[in-house]
Symmetry: C2
Subunit: 199 residues, 2 copies
Amino acid sequence: MKKRPEPQHSDALGTRERIVRTTSRLMQRQGYQGTGIKQIAREAQATLGSVYHFFPGGKQELGTAAVRQGDAEFADILEKMLAAEDDPATAVLVLTKVLGEGLEESDWLDGCPVTSTVVGTAVDSPGIQEAAAEAFAHWRALVAEALLRAGFAEKDAKELAYTVVSALEGAEMAAQVARSTQPLDAVGQHLARLIRSYR
Amino acid sequence: MKKRPEPQHSDALGTRERIVRTTSRLMQRQGYQGTGIKQIAREAQATLGSVYHFFPGGKQELGTAAVRQGDAEFADILEKMLAAEDDPATAVLVLTKVLGEGLEESDWLDGCPVTSTVVGTAVDSPGIQEAAAEAFAHWRALVAEALLRAGFAEKDAKELAYTVVSALEGAEMAAQVARSTQPLDAVGQHLARLIRSYR
DNA sequence: AACTGGGTAGAGCGTTCGTTCTAGAGCGTG
DNA sequence: CACGCTCTAGAACGAACGCTCTACCCAGTT
């Protein structure tokens, strides 16, 4: 009835998967409005027919898929980082360092994929904005869980999670614009200090 | 030789001024790529000829002018808020409240004009990215000055300024996406706490 | 009265946009 | 072998894009 070919070799992903990843990567760099469907098809080595076959909702559906892809990718990193350190303050500090390195290695091109995709789309495309809200809520939940595990009070954990995720977003953007890791470094130090002040 | 007509009535600004403000407002909502020059001309009640007369550099020049406009507008608010309170921690807290109110009143449409304009333009338009970097540095300097005035050590003031501006940016974006002032409220409380921890 | 130049006006250029549409390749099932 | 179905392929459409261009208005100067 159904077969599952789907090999995970880097270049041998299924067409749908290739389209989503390419969309996410392109919108991360050029934003939603700056990314064309024909460019996506070209770079994903797919055709327009395939793109509209898998995403009949057109560009908006591609955008939400890209946001969800970015959500999942960053949630993976976040989860691993928070699990690797017993102290959440240290985990956040390490995370800012890792984000800074990634940004610098991409020559300051690859910021937060969710942010770049959602900015400037709220008006005409509520689906994308919702997916982005879900992504932020998802990340916030991961941070709050880690704080709870470390013994923080529930109220403190939830409020700190808002600040941690917001500050990380802002610092990544500021670092990208300034082409410097300084915003991420400062935010890392201060978030660690803030978290420790609740122990 | 020269006369200065330039009345400051709301609708009687000079054409150039009208174009800049309209561009800034539109790019704040729709981003750089999502805003067309013809739309700018239409809404500014100017013609294409006038737009290219004042901005021969085309869309990129309009974008940088819009970013500088946003820079100046927010710097005004920031300066007044920091001057109105003796305690910088309180000033930041009040600021997050004000930003939240502004966001809610615009039905979550008007986020940071600099952020929305610069996201997704770094690749092809370095001028806009530079103007945005200058805006962030400008705001950072205002915050650092206020902290110095309040007696903070120079190193602490500068590092805190990075975190305050980055966190505000991130919180405004998060609030806009979540359609809620919660991110701004949490960041306001935590930034105040962080600043106070240095006294 | 003639000239000058900053500013206004918008038709039109070539290009790209998102989307639609028809045609066909490949393949497991009747 | 023919059928149906998923997926690939890309030409074509109308609309919008950024930008160029010529023409014109009109105050100030000579």
